[in-house]
Amino acid sequence: MVKRDVPAIAARHLGRVGGVLQALREVVLEQGFVSEDDQRVVADVFNISRADVRGIVSFYEDLKTQPPAPLRVRICQAEACQAVGGRRFTRAVEERLGIPVGEQNERASIEAVYCLGLCAQGPAFTVNERPFTHADKLDLDSALDLLGEAGSP
């Protein structure tokens, strides 16, 4: 992912309602994460302390501080998906990718997400933002391979 012009992004949100949060969010949308340096820039532009910015970043799940893996799998862990085998599906993905939920390696990451609003067609998950439903009926290997093409080197 390309490094973006963080000062310009921050400046654009200055003076807007919830500007700090929206600036941080846009930085993450643009480049995948918000680094220590980026956080300092945002703090300077908004004239608030770095601790305040760090506090915001640590509060919100989306505000990642590390570069993302090429294959980003988010699996719903919530009740409606549990009711149709979500736990089993999660374990299968963990085995297939060789990492537990909440971790990443150079190839992939698995994140827990609590509901995608696809609860009548669970288990639900997304790969690089693309939604999938009925994961229990899916051929996992082909799904991940298919998606791997989009993301992995």
């Binding site: 309602v17 700090v20 799940e61 009740e79 409606a80 609003g117 609860c119 009548a120 067609q121 939604p131």
Partner: protein, 496 residues
């Protein structure tokens, strides 16, 4: 045949089921494809709707690209045909006030704004009276009477008043906000504009969770169109009213669905809970009087204004008046959104509309009202869905999510999850929730491992008592509900 219109939903649930490819296949066959919102029949997606030669509009379920040529050839004789649109039980039995338009046209097709027009020259207090007559209660969870919030904001003197729409929809098993935002965004805009006129708020925000990118795109486009059409901004539809509405997307935090946490987040900070009082209607966004409502509460307003508060109040079972958009999910054959008057029983929804479990195994429990909602047993299924009847059995309707589980469910595991969810999503501000959730999870783990007994169960009960009575908000305060309801109704799962 070339001019035949075929309707195919474009909501994310339909798309995840292959709707885009199906739409392409119909277009390639020369049909005029209209992408619509969803009618809520998630179980039937992609659900295709088309007029047959006879003029009847028919519906086909779970259509794949392979089905397209056969459907075009055989029409309603195709095995996936559900019959005529207005004769499908699953839809015909519903009473739609909020979702009546959802799924009938392209989400950005400009609908008539009869309700809004009828409110432009009415005294604001008369609009609030109409809401009071309707008996509308908030659909976000607590079921608090809407007119009280409106009147409080109206009557609290301030330079600037705000409307906030809570579209953070974090409860498992719920997707009504998503369906409305993706399928009929103008309904929300119209409802909020009427509320703005009634309360004197000139600015509003829709706080949307980031897990709904499709809803974000559709709603942003609808906002732009609404401004172009003079439905928002200065001088709405040529009147003297001004209302500016913005979309604000969150950054991944369940707790931001709680209204004070949401306001903190909207102001750009960590979403930590504010102590109440003051309530947001007196001191909300930037300390100003603010109405906070769920999407469905605002979206009910145009229907109420159009049909009259009296007519709305006749639906349901007072004081649970009107309709509720229930969302049926989990292990159920026909899951989706069902808008019906309050008073229907759980069994009618789960077995009637839902057709029982998807696995075909016996139903064991349903969780109602999201992750902070109660686990109920088969013996509870005949309870009517009203706020009052649910409260009587220790449950709540919440945002209307109903999650079905078959007999493979382990209620001890679900209780463990309830604590874990609270641990993950706690804002961290108060100890009973922040530490109680961790202790509860650990103790439940001991029970799950077969190393726990009566002592651990007593510890859980004590912990729940503390969380319930001493938490600053309902996150910690209601986590005991799923835990204790599971222990009470399914004690056998906790002896291992």
């Amino acid at each position: 045949m070339a001019s035949t219109r075929v309707h195919i939903p474009q909501d994310v649930a339909a798309v995840a089921s292959g709707a885009d490819a199906v739409a392409e296949a119909f277009a390639a066959a020369g049909l005029d494809v209209v992408r619509t919102g969803s009618r809520g029949g998630c179980w039937a997606e992609p659900m295709v709707e088309m007029a047959e030669d006879s003029g009847t509009r028919s519906v086909w379920r779970n259509v794949t690209t392979d089905d397209v040529p056969e459907i075009l050839k055989r029409g309603s004789a195709h095995p996936k045909c559900l019959g005529a649109l207005d004769a499908i039980d699953w839809l015909a039995g519903q009473h739609r006030v909020v979702f009546d338009r959802c799924g009938t046209d392209h989400p950005l097709a400009l609908p008539p704004t009869v309700a809004l027009e009828s409110c432009l020259d009415v005294a604001p207090t008369a609009l609030i009276d109409e809401i009071e007559t309707s008996g509308l209660r908030g659909r976000g969870g607590a079921g608090f009477p809407a007119h009280i919030k409106w009147r409080t904001v109206r009557d609290t003197p301030a330079e600037q008043k705000y409307l906030v729409c809570n579209a953070d929809e974090g409860d498992s098993g719920t997707f009504a906000d998503r369906l409305l935002l993706e399928g009929d965004p103008f309904r929300l805009i119209e409802g909020m504009t009427i509320a703005a006129i009634a309360t004197g708020a000139s600015r509003g925000f829709v706080y949307l969770r980031s897990e709904y990118p499709d809803a974000e795109r559709t709603f942003a486009a609808a906002l732009k169109r609404a401004y172009e059409q003079g439905l928002l901004g200065k001088g709405i539809l040529g009147s003297a009213h001004t209302f500016d509405l913005e979309l604000f997307v969150g950054a991944g935090a369940y707790i931001c669905g709680e209204e004070t946490s949401l306001l903190e987040s909207l102001e750009g900070r960590r979403g930590e809970i504010r102590a109440k009082p003051p309530v947001p209607a007196i001191a909300g966004l930037f300390g100003q009087p603010t109405v906070v409502h769920n999407v469905i509460s605002y979206a009910a307003v145009p229907g109420i204004m159009q049909g009259g508060g009296d007519a709305y109040a006749e639906l349901g079972v007072a004081p649970s008046t009107g309709t509720m958009a229930f969302q049926l999910a989990g292990n159920v054959l026909r899951g989706g959104l069902i808008e019906v008057p309050f008073g229907i029983t759980l069994a009618e929804i789960v077995e009637g509309y839902g057709g029982g479990t998807r696995s075909g195994r016996p139903l064991r429990t349903v969780q109602i009202g999201g992750p902070l909602g109660a686990y109920l047993g088969r013996e509870d299924l005949d309870t009517p869905l009203t706020y009052e009847a649910m409260a009587n059995i220790g449950a709540g309707i919440g945002h209307g999510g109903i999650v079905v589980f078959d007999d493979t469910v382990d209620l001890a595991e679900q209780a463990h999850y309830a604590f874990k969810f609270c641990e993950v999503e706690s804002c961290g501000k108060c100890t009973p929730c922040r530490l109680g959730s961790v202790r509860g999870k650990e103790t439940m783990q001991t029970i799950l491992d077969g190393r726990g007994g009566a002592r651990e169960l007593t510890m859980i009960r004590d912990l729940c008592e503390v969380m319930e009575s001493a938490s600053l908000c309902q996150m910690g305060g209601m986590t005991p509900i799923p835990v204790l309801s599971a222990m009470e109704r399914f004690p056998e799962d906790f002896k291992r």
